[in-house]
Symmetry: C2
Subunit: 428 residues, 2 copies
């Protein structure tokens, strides 16, 4: 059913998170979590919401990039989101600004995700269920296979999706009943002192999380001390991951992780540049059997393809709002399934938990068909600004029931955090 997009508005929304050192890590000492936010409206009264997540300065540039996409959607009759996605990605003039990376690609992500929010609302279903009920052929039609055919063809994708068709209905019911497992990064920000770390680790256990993650990479002695605190609270064998946020070169990553090895490291995340496929591979070989995870800054499916081809990662951490939105993330889920690598998405920021839960649940229903060895990151920031915030129950994401992509923020939150005119910023 066709409908027409008749309007696009954008908002530069920033939260002053640097005041509390929430979100502080080895490369990002003082983020102000922000959203370059877009609202699409239709001729029959629906709204689609989406956003790119940034950490402060530059959110104006990101918002301008989203506005530049207005001619591609406003006034358009929308039917096939696969075609519209490719039209934006392959606009030859905009493509020069990437291709398929950085500010322009994140802008496409925001618009594509808003289109999916709209589509799911119109269908009266949460996005994970809308996607999870599509036929394998429909899903394949959403994917751009360009540059993937040496690893994944449309035929490969169809085979993966068809193999998962039996049991879809049972998995949907299982999600509705029990949700999807989460891990929490909330204890581990670098800016927190040991007492706060200890208290938050204890809370994470009490809340039923089955994995935590600590930020590392600023100072080795601090990291050892903090890891020992966490291990002491969580007990032997409890999965504790570490996250270096791109801090190291290859040799220093191997050395640093080696110094933490004896305390039991579940995975090391973003040990080096997200662009360095061969570096990740060398690190993976140098720290085995400790696992390497990455993805929150991986720019597109082409880099993920190579990380998988090279055997450089044991966990793939897709991000809901950096690559080209839902469509490119379906390609990434299919790639991961093809290589048998579990997807444990990045979340946190502003609204990334809200979005990404839909992708993992879709993966469970229709792609990998498995929750084994899989967890979705959870960070307890800023959910109160969303109309349908994530719900965590005993360490699990509760399957969203509301129609849409859980992307919509309260109008009052948007107004208060508008930069620089909103009330939160006016008094600075």
């Amino acid at each position: 059913m066709t409908y027409r997009i008749v309007g696009m508005e954008t908002h530069d929304i920033r939260f002053p998170t640097s005041r509390e050192l929430d979100g502080s890590d080895a490369m990002n000492p003082d983020p102000d979590y922000s959203a370059a936010y877009v609202v699409l409206t239709t001729d029959d009264g629906f709204e689609g919401h989406g956003f790119a997540f940034t950490i402060g300065r530059g959110n104006d540039v990101q918002t301008a990039a989203i506005s530049a996409l207005s001619p591609y959607v406003v006034g358009r009759d929308v039917e096939d989101l696969g075609a519209l996605y490719k039209e934006m990605v392959y606009d030859s003039q905009l493509r020069w600004l990437g291709p398929e990376k950085g500010v322009m690609h994140m802008a496409i992500s925001a618009v594509v995700n808003a289109l999916w929010d709209l589509k799911a609302k119109r269908a009266g279903k949460p996005l994970w269920l809308l996607l999870g009920e599509m036929t394998p052929e429909e899903i394949v039609g959403l994917v751009d296979f360009r540059y993937l055919s040496d690893a994944l063809t449309p035929e490969d994708a169809l085979a993966i999706l068809r193999a998962s068709e039996p049991g879809r209905r049972e998995r949907i019911e299982r999600l509705k009943a029990g949700g999807y497992p989460a891990y929490t990064t909330s204890p581990g920000w670098l800016g927190y002192d040991d007492d706060k770390l200890r208290r938050l680790c204890k809370e994470a256990l009490d809340q039923g999380f089955t994995q935590i993650k600590l930020k590392v990479g600023a100072d080795l002695a601090d990291d050892v001390r903090r890891f020992r605190v966490a291990r002491e609270v969580c007990g032997p064998g409890f999965p504790i991951a570490i996250d270096a946020n791109q801090r190291w070169d290859v040799a220093s990553a191997i050395e640093w992780v080696g110094a933490l090895r004896e305390y039991g490291v579940h995975w090391v995340e973003e040990p080096t540049s997200p662009d360095d496929v061969l570096g990740h591979k060398a690190i993976a070989e140098g720290i085995a059997p400790i696992a390497v995870a990455t993805g929150e800054h991986v720019q597109n499916r082409i880099v993920f393809k190579q990380l998988l081809q090279a055997g450089a990662i044991s966990y793939l951490q897709l991000d809901s709002a950096r690559v080209g939105g839902v469509n490119e993330n379906i390609a990434i889920l299919l790639l991961a399934a093809r290589f048998g690598i579990p997807v444990c998405p990045h979340a946190g920021g502003v609204g990334l938990c809200e979005l990404v839960q839909h992708l993992s649940m879709f993966d469970y229903v229709a792609v990998s068909g498995s929750m084994e060895n899989r967890v979705i990151e959870y960070v307890d920031h800023l959910h109160e600004h969303f109309i349908h915030p994530v719900v965590i129950d005993n360490g699990n994401y509760v399957a969203p029931a509301a129609p849409g992509f859980s992307a919509e923020m309260h109008a009052a939150s948007i107004a208060a955090h508008a930069f620089p005119g909103g009330e939160v910023w006016r008094d600075q």
Copy 2:
């Protein structure tokens, strides 16, 4: 000597090149060559000019990204361009928008290059000579070695630069006397018919060029016909390169190039996604001994490092205005020297020839010390808009003598091509 930047202005400049199909290729059918242009002014009356090259839509976003860097330079006392470059690259909040890729990185490139234009003008020297007279230690101080140490350390870089110190003066004189060899892409745009191709090939030979390049990848039968026309005019053995502008996947690249093999292909450029290091490697193995070249869309030194580590390219085609400006390009020249791969820069667009000649000449003077197997791309568009346009003499770039980075456009050209208000656009 310290000086203060007191102002930054930006301009969205676009040339309506799509009207003539100049610059048309398999992925870019109708570019409007554009510059997101920046002018820095100092407290003592100097100006530094720089720009990011784009091909039309989105040039406003690119210009906005440059403006976002204003707080990092305006009001600043400038001394060490190595430090200032790193300060922009490592601003943690802006970094989230890349890191080191796409719109934000190209914005840094424009500002860094403007700072170098300024520095060279103040020194009263063309940039290639200013850089070519720096000590190895000074040059190493300009480079960010982060993420490179598995391939290139500061000590490696010093060794390369010291090895090239003897003979610098002779090479400077040789450049002043004879210039640097060029090849031309002007005959080969996809939008040109066979008669125009034939005429332009003939002109290229008459003008003394020793290599040409044809755009390919839209239609194989057309490519075969056009290549045969070019071969007929240029004669057997004359180097004819082809450029697919990212058109293919791995298997189709190998197949397509194979079909042209019998006519003698010098190199194939951008056979696939610039992000696909492993894809380039597979293509290089599949088409050997035909060489693979790439770089104009390679986002930063980290991807170049991997292309070299993987043995995926035989020619490295750096671009003067996509990676982080002069500083990152010095890192890339050092990487190429470390791996013994010749640098044959990308040029064309708006002002890319003007800029990149300085980098190749610096490479010859102080890094590789060689012109062997090296040519700078030349395209005969839009030079008339520059105050110090490139000069080609018998197929060679004449060494620039004017102080600066040859980046400055005529004020009248800036005004006429301002988008959308300039006279060139007003009548559309």
